[in-house]
């Protein structure tokens, strides 16, 4: 059995109960950072069971965008077209694999995102209606990723409208 979650609990307890009272009161940066460390460990503890889930969501999301671009009718340069096809192929294969490994999923997602980057950069020279179509696609398909990230990072306390944010599982499952 993996005991990482237990280890994180113990680390937080140690920092809070033992280390915090021993901090030099004349070192406010140390006290401030200890609190940040404890908060971050708690954040990681809350996300631990979902790390692979997150990687999978990102890969699936990137794949959806790449496929939409592929089917958009844009005249993509032969080099980028070929890269797009192969990254989609690889991503699809990774996603359907029975042995999902976080680092492999991440690399597949990054590869697709990189090819999409090149296509969007290239689109600056496309005919205006095609470019606008591609950019609109990106904006529309960014909604799920943004909502997922808002939910994922919600415990860090930066979201200006936390009440409107659904659970990230809800976001990820919506488009399965």
């Amino acid at each position: 059995m993996d005991v990482t979650e237990n280890g994180l609990r113990a680390a937080v307890k140690s920092l809070t109960d033992v280390v915090a009272p021993a901090i030099n009161p004349n070192d406010p940066l140390a006290a401030e950072q200890l609190k940040l460390v404890v908060d971050y460990l708690e954040f990681v503890r809350g996300r631990l069971d979902f790390l692979c889930y997150r990687e999978t969501f990102e890969l699936r999301d990137n794949l959806a965008l790449a496929r939409a671009i592929q089917n958009s009718g844009a005249i993509i340069s032969p080099e980028n077209k070929s890269l797009l096809e192969s990254s989609i192929e690889t991503g699809t294969a990774v996603l359907s694999s029975h042995e999902l490994k976080s680092n492999v999923i991440r690399l597949a997602a990054f590869e697709i995102a990189a090819v999409v980057r090149e296509v969007i950069r290239e689109s600056a020279s496309y005919e205006e209606s095609i470019r606008r179509k591609l950019e609109t696609l990106v904006l529309e398909m960014s909604v799920d990723r943004i909502t997922f990230d808002r939910a994922w990072y919600l415990p860090l306390g930066f979201d200006p409208s936390p009440k409107e944010v659904p659970h990230f599982v809800e976001v990820a499952e919506k488009n399965r």
Binding site: D39, F110, A114, V116, I120, A124, R131, L139, T147, L156
Partner: protein
């Protein structure tokens, strides 16, 4: 199985060719270029190691021995919090000031870490603080170490300013003073100063002044906006660890829609609550701080920054948005125009709202990631947390772009 397109590890130890290529692709101000080249060349150097108070005091002693004629004593050294991007140490200096005679001054050293979340120049801060001394409340600057001759990194020394960034009783504004609720009484006292100082900064004449750190962008052209866009794009290229399609769309849009500069203003760069100090009892502002993103450019950059939703808050009934917690949004621009004598152009304002969101994402997603990954700053744990701001800013950016794609 995977190519190298999605791998950004080369940014950990960039080659000179890589550094020069990015510098060439994204032209901007000369000093900005020098700072970013320096950053990249130093990137593979060891992680930041926090100096002790004693070590920093030794650096200070050596500097002051060269700067001060006669005896002096440094006492009461202590760390300050609050600096996300800079290291700050307070101390008391007993000395004979040539201007005032025997003096006791509470001062602050403001120094870069090995790599900051915001690569900026202490020399520029020094120059801007000097420029506004006696015009709006700013701390008096004393000495500058622009190249890290005495200190481990570039540093400046200025007067400690009394005051608070937020009311003592409020629980708001925890993150760098963002969203501080000042309450009706303080609002009444602080709002006129907030607007007047911004008007004074923006209406200061620049064309008759020679600056050592800042370049004058061309009036009537798009150079000013391009420099700011290129700064963001360059940082995105140098620092990121992942691609993000939304950022590419934003970059394309920003390049297609560069606005012309109608009037060259001094731009503060981070004009908001959390960056001014005030006396709580009187509501009098005592200092404007954090001039590190200052430049000569378009006033709309500051206006768009100041009016961002993360900077202020809504009234309890949700009807009124208070800019930086101080001025109702529906009054803000008119009062600013009256104070500055300068107009507010909605199109330029819109452009800079997009650009600001883009630049914040460059810092939060790219720079914060790289600096923390390489252990380069005194606030790595805070920088790691900053990623959490990216989704809300992305949402703003996507909504803005959708309006005018």
């Amino acid at each position: 199985m995977f190519g190298s397109m999605g791998n950004f590890d080369n940014r950990d130890n960039p080659s000179e060719a890589f550094i020069q290529d990015i510098s060439r692709r994204y032209p901007g101000e000369r000093e900005t270029d020098e700072l970013l080249v320096r950053k990249m060349r130093l990137r593979s150097s060891p992680p930041y190691k926090r100096p002790t108070l004693a070590e920093l005091s030794t650096c200070l002693q050596k500097m002051l021995e060269e700067k001060i004629q006669g005896d002096f004593q440094v006492r009461d050294q202590s760390w300050f919090t609050g600096g996300v991007s800079k290291i700050q140490m307070g101390f008391t200096l007993h000395w004979i000031d040539p201007r005032r005679g025997p003096s006791v001054d509470r001062l602050v050293i403001r120094m870069d870490p090995s790599e900051s979340s915001n690569t900026t120049s202490r020399a520029r801060e020094f120059e801007l603080l000097n420029l506004f001394e006696g015009i709006i409340p700013v701390p008096r600057v004393f000495w500058l170490d622009p190249k890290g001759e005495w200190f481990p990194e570039p540093a400046l020394i200025y007067a400690f300013a009394d005051g608070v960034t937020k009311p003592k009783t409020t629980a708001t504004g925890k993150v760098s003073g963002l969203g501080t609720v000042f309450g009706p009484e303080l609002r009444k006292q602080l709002a006129p100063q907030f607007i007047k100082h911004l008007g004074t900064i923006h209406s200061m004449k620049t064309e008759d002044k020679v600056f050592t750190t800042m370049d004058h962008p061309q009036i009537g052209g798009t150079q000013s906006a391009l420099w700011q866009l290129n700064r963001g794009r360059r940082i995105w290229e140098e620092d990121r660890g992942e691609d993000y399609a939304l950022m590419e769309v934003a970059s394309n849009w920003l390049e297609r829609n560069l606005p012309t500069l109608d009037h060259a203003s001094i731009v503060h760069g981070d004009y908001r609550s959390g960056n001014f100090l005030f006396e709580e009892a009187t509501g009098q502002m005592t200092a404007w701080l954090d001039w590190e993103r200052g430049h000569i450019g378009d006033r709309h950059r500051d206006l768009a920054w100041t009016t961002q939703t993360t900077m202020g808050h809504y009234s309890e009934d949700g009807q009124t948005y208070y800019v930086c917690g101080l001025v109702p949004l529906n009054e803000f621009y008119k009062r600013y125009e009256d104070a500055s004598g300068l107009s507010v152009d909605p199109d330029r304002l819109y452009y800079y709202k997009v650009l600001n969101s883009y630049q914040i994402l460059c810092s939060a997603m790219a720079t914060a990631y790289r600096v923390a990954r390489l252990g380069k700053s005194h606030q790595d744990i805070l920088l790691t947390r900053v990623k959490g701001i990216a989704p809300a800013v992305s949402l703003d950016l996507a909504r803005l772009l959708k309006e005018r794609l």
